[in-house]
């Protein structure tokens, strides 16, 4: 398949974009990467995602697919002949994978952001809430190598990009996520053994610098 058949509109620093990059890499799909500027969105992005005007957007044969978790499922279903499967074949395990990907969507992003956008008591409350969420994931992992069973898949792809935020959270929130969630830390290490993951994730230190910049701009 020619490169121009698959285009990814993305932002390298985005955790949501990283999900899609990981999925494409897992399936060995060649694509054209286009970096967007959030303050100067391309006409193509606005045309392909008129509802949310956000990245990532996967454009396949000229047709857009939006929302990172939806894009990952699309990639799995379209390139189903390419291994590995990103979702299990059993309906119950598929439901589990979707549940946990949805859990990450609902709880991680906003929960983490609260930590670097608040101070004092509000920040302490945000930290506690976020650690409670991570402990739920820790519980879900249990003795399993991955979030839903024995293989790396959809739920892991949904969560793993957020691991680059741990450095920022630990520094700004004065936390030690790896110490409090050893199973999660081990799972991160395990996922990082995959080339698809290491090649797709933005740099954790760069993200920290970005957050510091944002805080400075807001006078925090």
């Amino acid at each position: 398949m020619a490169d121009s058949d698959v285009i990814l509109l993305d932002l390298w620093i985005s955790v949501f974009g990283a999900r899609v990059r990981i999925a494409l890499a897992e399936k060995g799909v060649k694509y054209e990467y286009r970096e967007e500027k959030l303050d100067d969105k391309s006409p193509l992005l606005l045309e392909m995602n008129p509802v949310h005007k956000k990245i990532p957007v996967l454009i396949h044969h000229g047709k857009p697919v939006c929302e990172s978790n939806i894009i990952v499922q699309y990639i799995d279903e379209t390139w189903h002949a390419n291994s590995p499967p990103l979702l299990p074949s059993d309906p119950y395990l598929r439901a589990q994978a979707r549940f946990w990907a949805d859990f990450v969507d609902k709880k991680i992003y906003e929960g983490a952001k609260k930590i670097w956008t608040t101070k004092g008591e509000e920040q302490e409350a945000a930290k506690k809430e976020f650690m409670d969420v991570l402990k739920v994931l820790e519980g879900q992992l249990g003795e399993k190598p991955y979030l839903v069973g024995e293989s790396f898949g959809f739920a892991d792809i949904a969560m793993i990009p957020f691991c680059i935020w741990f450095y920022t959270l630990n520094k700004i929130g004065n936390m030690n996520i790896e110490k409090e969630c050893p199973k999660l830390a081990a799972w991160v290490k395990r996922c990082m053994e995959r080339e698809s993951v290491t090649k797709s994730l933005p740099d954790a230190h760069k993200f920290y610098e970005l957050v510091l910049e944002m805080q400075k701009k807001k006078g925090q």
Binding site: V51, H60, K63, V65, C66, E67, I70, I71, Q73, Y74, E77, T78, P91, Y92, R94, A95, R98, F99, D102, F103, V136
Partner: protein, 219 residues
């Protein structure tokens, strides 16, 4: 013999969509009605993470989150009345709009109904903008899922079944035929589907329930 239990409330739009899916696929099931102010130990056992309804329990395994449950039902009982289309792009589109419905349209519609004064005016504008998008989706289509109803119609079914009681409580008709001819036609079509029609909730009781929520919210 498959044992299927659904934990829910009689008025939740999220529970309703599961009832519809089970009816459409002729899946025998038992509904266990929960009092959300006093959740049963069983519900908490089957949904320890979110502690919410609906929860589907199939042969003792539990599935939570309505859109996840719908896909589980579709993939498990795949030989009757398929809900999601086969084509990956069509599936992605339906998932996108279902998510948009749940994250934007439903909260703004319900929020608009429950608010008062200036807040209500603002919520009204957002809701109308969202409804215009759905209206557009229905141009040249009988159902949101295409020629025949499917996953996306079920995901938006709350709009068909709840819009009237919500409008009564809000004191304003949002879904009028002049502004939303496609949506109104879709609503009538959707409500005529036998499996949907047979579980039509009592409108007066729904109105009373929403009115109670609005009065109790103190906004």
């Amino acid at each position: 013999m498959e044992k299927v239990k659904l934990f829910g409330t009689w008025s939740s739009p999220f529970v309703k969509r599961i009832v519809w899916a089970l009816n459409l696929k002729n899946i025998e099931h038992e509904v266990i009605y929960e009092d959300l102010a006093n959740k049963s130990p069983e519900l908490l056992k089957y949904n320890p993470i979110h502690k919410k309804v609906p929860v589907l329990v199939h042969n003792e395994i539990s599935i939570c989150e309505s859109l996840v449950i719908l896909q589980y039902i579709d993939e498990t009982w795949k030989n009757t009345c398929p809900l999601l289309p086969k084509d990956p792009l069509d599936r992605a589109k339906e998932r996108f709009w279902a998510r948009f419905g749940d994250e934007e349209v439903l909260p703004s519609f319900f929020g608009y109904v429950m608010k008062k004064g200036k807040d209500q005016e603002e919520a009204k504008e957002t809701t109308l903008a969202h409804l215009k998008r759905i209206e557009q989706l229905l141009s040249e289509k009988k159902f949101l899922s295409g020629e025949s109803f499917g996953f996306l119609d079920i995901a938006f079914g709350w709009l068909a079944e709840y819009s009237h009681p919500l409008e009564v409580v809000a004191g304003l008709k949002l879904l009028d035929e002049d502004s939303f001819p496609n949506l109104c036609a879709w609503k009538d079509r959707f409500l005529e589907i036998p499996a949907i029609k047979e579980s039509w909730p009592d409108q007066e009781t729904l109105i009373a329930k929403f009115q109670e929520s609005k009065d109790g919210s103190g906004k």
